[in-house]
Subunit: 421 residues, 2 copies
């Protein structure tokens, strides 16, 4: 488990995500094409095949039914979801952008106009795992941004969708839920069918079929990011508590076998205590087998010289979650460039960020924090540039515009200026 | 040419972009795979095949050579490019975002940290069209955002790259230029080769092979948008000058046969004058054949009842460029939701926005202004969420976090909180 920064295991962790999966590409392409051409008929046949239920009745859950799921939810979980919604809303409101206009010379006005995207579709995976928190993390930012029409799509094995997911959808402002999943759900929302309205943007995680479908419809609609395997990196010094660190590493490792948990430290003593603590806490976990496999393949404790080097190694990993369990986390925070979410100090386990702190838990995975951001209110806004020239301003730049246009052999561009002055 | 808002021609214009092109997908997939496995060797063989030159010597143009291209540029075009760079920089600096931190209850700190993407690759198409302005529009925003390493890739037919393109690259802060193009250039920048450094984000327009390659590497690196055919929509009232409007429509139509130029007006008189003026001005254009074909297939003058209806039709088109040639453009601006760039009043032809006004000319096309934004400084920044809890704050939300975690059967998540309190 304990390695140095040049170890091959670190490369194995860095390269564990394989985003370009040709094997399934042609299957997904066929599903997209079929749904695009045959609409509901295709959606129904794939749903029968993959989710084992008939979509003969309408497959839309309306807002009344969502509200009744919410009303029926047991009060403990309901109150927690209400609190979570509140803090997610609070944080994402801070991300809102404003239209601006500025004056230039000669009466020129320049600006940037912000508008919400109109129609958003949220994909929510089905299967054994049921994540009402993910429903909130995807719907609340869209709601904060002012999206008029938020819909959701989720596979309903044998026709059933979990109540807590429907309750969270109601809380997040979702207008309707389609009981369909997989590439066919992405296709239906991207192209529209007789039942499903075409949306402008599709967000939310999913399996390889969903991920490939999102990639292929990108451009036709917008998508969020392509989710890969999840990870945590922890930078710790001798002020850290090995029990806390082991618990946090295991909270990542229990997700799935491809998850990665990495501790980076210069303290050999801490490294050894965490290593021992991991073995101990592992024994108590219901999801022990998953966590053990994940730690074995993609877990590591990296020994470095100092915190600067720790930040460098972390930036190479570009982790989804980064905990700074050090005496002075704010200083270290500014040395780190690539991380989805940064958790500071000894009392900020990743789990508070997953549920209740407010920031989004949809984060760039598999090293994509080098270029992707957390899902945010900004993902549901778009910008339009604003330009207003006066006749004087146009006259002053006319030679330049016509010069460049003519160098690019676009004479009608030049003419559109010349005719005005 | 003159139609009503329910005309089939409008649907033809809306559906002219076909972004999902299976025909070439397997070709592009093979090129990506080959470059990923065989690196420079594969890049060299595709370059010989498609661009007809040998990459036996190094295919990298360094910053010294870029500078010498800039120094040699004739002074008229040079001065215009310098002016353009200045106003592009001015506008994009206004888009910069700042790291923020806020205090919550119980000593909680929440925030959002902004960092530039580290390595950006700009794709610049080759062929007959040479667009130094596009080089600036892609490189300057990256430079403003603080990207450390900006590289460029462009096909060099018979080994030659246009001097004006290299000069613009120097002005935009590009560090090196690779003389390669097509899907192989995208693959080289996404995966890295012996010669080409791997980048984090690839931006810039290209042909269908480049667009598909970008779509397939998305997630492995970030990309900007997928560019489709270009368009202008003009909303005009009786205050507009038909000569100006015809000139602007033609400046779009001259780009290519797939370009679309649409006037929306409630003035029948204006519609008829513009129609007549289009025929007249068309005769004077060197690129008459292209512009004529574009107008015939995808040009239209749409008659509506009033400006509200004009805004609705425009929002359905979601045009790349929108001109508001009306008496009160600011009022109308706030009625419009979907447009890449909005040009206000009678003296703001699209061409000033293409070159010198400052806002970016890389804009969402083919209706994608419903969800995409212009290229901006924000495209080269990424965000990290910041969370800092205290022991008190953690204690206060512990029940909620553990409750949600347990409902999602993630017990190690719950444990990471419990162990701390």
């Amino acid at each position: 488990m304990i390695i140095d920064k040049n170890s091959d295991k670190l490369n194995k962790i860095l390269n564990r995500g394989e985003l370009f999966d040709e094997k399934y590409l042609s299957v997904v392409m066929d599903i997209l094409k079929d749904v695009r051409i045959n609409g509901d008929k295709a959606v129904k046949s794939y749903t029968k095949k993959f989710d084992n239920h008939d979509l003969n009745e309408s497959y839309v859950i309306g807002v009344d039914e969502l509200k009744s799921s919410f009303d029926k939810l047991e009060s403990g979980l309901k109150d927690s979801l209400i609190k979570a919604e509140k803090s997610i809303r609070f944080y994402h409101e801070k991300q809102m952008e404003k239209t601006w206009l500025i004056n230039g010379n000669n009466g020129i006005v320049l600006g940037q106009k912000i508008s919400p995207v109109e129609n958003v579709g949220i994909y929510v995976p089905g299967g054994k795992a049921v994540y009402p928190s993910s429903v909130l993390m995807n719907s609340v930012p869209a709601n904060v941004a002012g999206v008029e029409n938020i819909v959701m799509s989720t596979p309903a094995a044998y026709g059933k969708v979990q109540e807590s997911v429907l309750a969270a959808a109601y809380l997040g402002g979702v207008k309707k839920v389609y009981k369909i999943g997989g590439a066919q759900a992405v296709a239906a929302m991207a192209y529209g069918t007789e039942t499903v309205e075409k949306v402008d943007k599709i967000v939310g995680p999913g399996n390889i079929f969903v991920a490939l479908a999102k990639k292929l419809v990108f451009g036709f609609v917008d998508i969020d990011m392509i989710a890969g395997p999840s990870e945590i990196t922890i930078i710790a010094d001798e002020s850290a508590n090995p029990q806390f660190i082991a618990a946090d590493m295991l909270s990542q490792a229990e997700h799935d076998e491809m998850a990665s948990s990495v501790l980076i430290t210069y303290s050999k003593k801490l490294a050894e205590s965490v290593n021992a603590e991991l073995k101990k806490q592992l024994e108590e976990l219901p999801r022990k087998d998953i966590a053990e496999a994940s730690l074995k393949d993609f877990g590591a404790i990296v020994l470095v010289e100092n915190l600067e080097e720790a930040a460098e190694v972390s930036d190479r990993i570009a982790p989804e979650h980064l905990e700074l369990c050090v005496a002075n986390p704010y200083e270290l925070m500014f040395k780190v460039r690539n991380a989805g979410a940064i958790f500071l100090g000894h009392y900020t386990p990743e789990a508070v960020g997953d549920y209740i702190a407010g920031p989004n838990h949809t984060l760039p995975t598999g090293g994509s924090a080098r270029f992707f951001s957390p899902l945010g209110a900004y993902d549901f806004l778009k910008r339009s540039s604003i330009v207003n020239f006066t006749k004087d301003a146009l006259r002053e730049c006319a030679e330049d515009v016509m010069g460049i246009a003519n160098s690019e052999e676009l004479t009608a561009h030049a003419k559109s200026v010349k005719i005005r002055i």
